[in-house]
Amino acid sequence: MNLTLKIWRQKNNSDKGGFKDYKLGGISKDMSFLEMLDVLNEELSAKGEDPVHFDHDCREGICGMCSLYINGKPHGPQQTTTCQLHMRSFSDGETITIEPWRAKAFPVLKDLVTDRSAFDRIIQAGGYVSVNTGGVPDANEIPIPKTIADMAMDAAQCIGCGACVAACKNASAMLFTSAKVSQLALLPQGQVERKTRAEKMVAQMDAEGFGACTNTGACEAECPKGISITNIARMNREYFSAVVSSQNV
């Protein structure tokens, strides 16, 4: 395959940045999208140019490290992570536009790499449970109905990649935050901090500068893990019931 790549290049956070075009040939349809970028970077390195910086880690679709806004969609045309996207999803001679996630809360560090530590701070604010020290508890010691366990596990599928923020017209982090609130609120282990968690995580989400939700559903449609916006409704319930009944004045 021969491709024209239109890639966002930005030296650092204070640089204005801009698009640069690259011609790339000899790409196999079976390559992953990141492997295609690896080929480009090898060529750039051989020429002595600065390679295109992008985030990646496991390349198995489970770590949430890869990002990229490809041809107007987060993680590209398929509902998967960029590392699991293959070049067969594109056609020969196509121009592919690659941009970083765009959000005030995700500042661009370099090229396509954004700082997503805002998500970490939301988790730190309340995305944890209290556990006793000592021996490892027996498995299945606490009975949990299968349907509830499934709902919690569905929410826990979230890998924190930020595609929801990237897809949302308001750069809202409500799908991420709601998945993290839900996975713990649904389980008995999460009851101790339940109210405080909802209050603190929402407060941190706002403090990071994410937008508000307008229920467009774009986040759910683009989420590589299929996280449902029913979680956002649950987070709203959790939050509203927490603020009216918690002891936190």
Binding site: A103, K169, N170, V202, F210, G211, T230, A233, R237
Partner: protein, 227 residues
């Protein structure tokens, strides 16, 4: 800051106010529509004029109407605050975006739809509400009692084709606004349930078509009658 003001200034709290005021305005639309449909009764406006008079003198309606204006104002103010906040949340926009593949047009353009509805509302209030309350009204007698002839000024307005076209277009915008707003309000309130959400979606969609269509029918019918 007290916990109440802290909650209401959070993104979720602001959304809550949008949803609650929106749902109230949806209720208002139903009441307003039922009243207005009397314009189409073939009695030369008698039942509509009597209805308008009873509404103007009902203390409960007067209190609710103050609330209604307050909720419209709140809905507008909070939409401006939220839209501004949302715009600021993405200072640099994408060069290429295929948003239409993952969300509906009306869900992404509630602000534009709402602005048109607000302009309509101002024209509507100036033309009818203000005239009826403070303007010089033609009068009419029913069984020896004198009433304001509200029907006459409505009929006069709807004999103007430009006015009718403006009304019908505005109702189209209202329909699109409702097509997202109705179910969105329930989602914001946290009412998303596998048993009820499909019903809410369907009722919302039906509401968004039927209510604006019936509102639009009134000026169209009255224009035809005026010919």
């Amino acid at each position: 800051m007290s916990w109440v003001s802290k909650t209401l200034s959070s993104t979720l709290g602001r959304k809550l106010l949008m949803a609650l005021t929106g749902l109230f305005l949806i209720l208002f639309l139903v009441v307003h529509l039922i009243g207005n449909l009397q314009l189409l009764l073939p009695d030369n406006g008698e039942s509509f004029n009597l209805y308008a008079d009873s509404m103007a003198h009902n203390p409960l309606i007067r209190v609710v109407s103050i609330g209604n204006f307050a909720f419209i104002l709140l809905h507008v103010i909070y939409s401006i605050i939220l839209s501004k906040h949302n715009k600021n949340s993405r200072p640099v926009d994408y060069a290429v975006s295929k948003a239409s593949t993952s969300s509906t047009w009306s869900s992404r353009n509630m602000g534009i739809l709402g602005t048109v509805i607000l302009i309509f509302l101002l024209v509507h209030l100036k033309g009818f509400y203000y005239e009826i309350k403070f303007g010089e009204m033609p009068m009419v007698d029913y069984e020896g009692v004198t009433y304001k002839n509200v029907f006459a000024i409505v009929a006069a307005a709807y004999s103007n084709v430009l006015y009718v076209v403006f009304y019908v277009i505005a109702m189209g915008f209202l329909g699109f606004h409702l097509s997202h707003g109705f179910s969105s309000a329930f989602q914001t309130l946290g009412l998303n349930h596998v048993k009820y959400s499909p019903l809410i979606q369907k009722v919302g969609f039906g509401f968004a078509i039927v209510v604006p269509a019936l509102f639009a029918l009134i000026p169209i019918m009255m224009y035809i009658q005026s010919l």
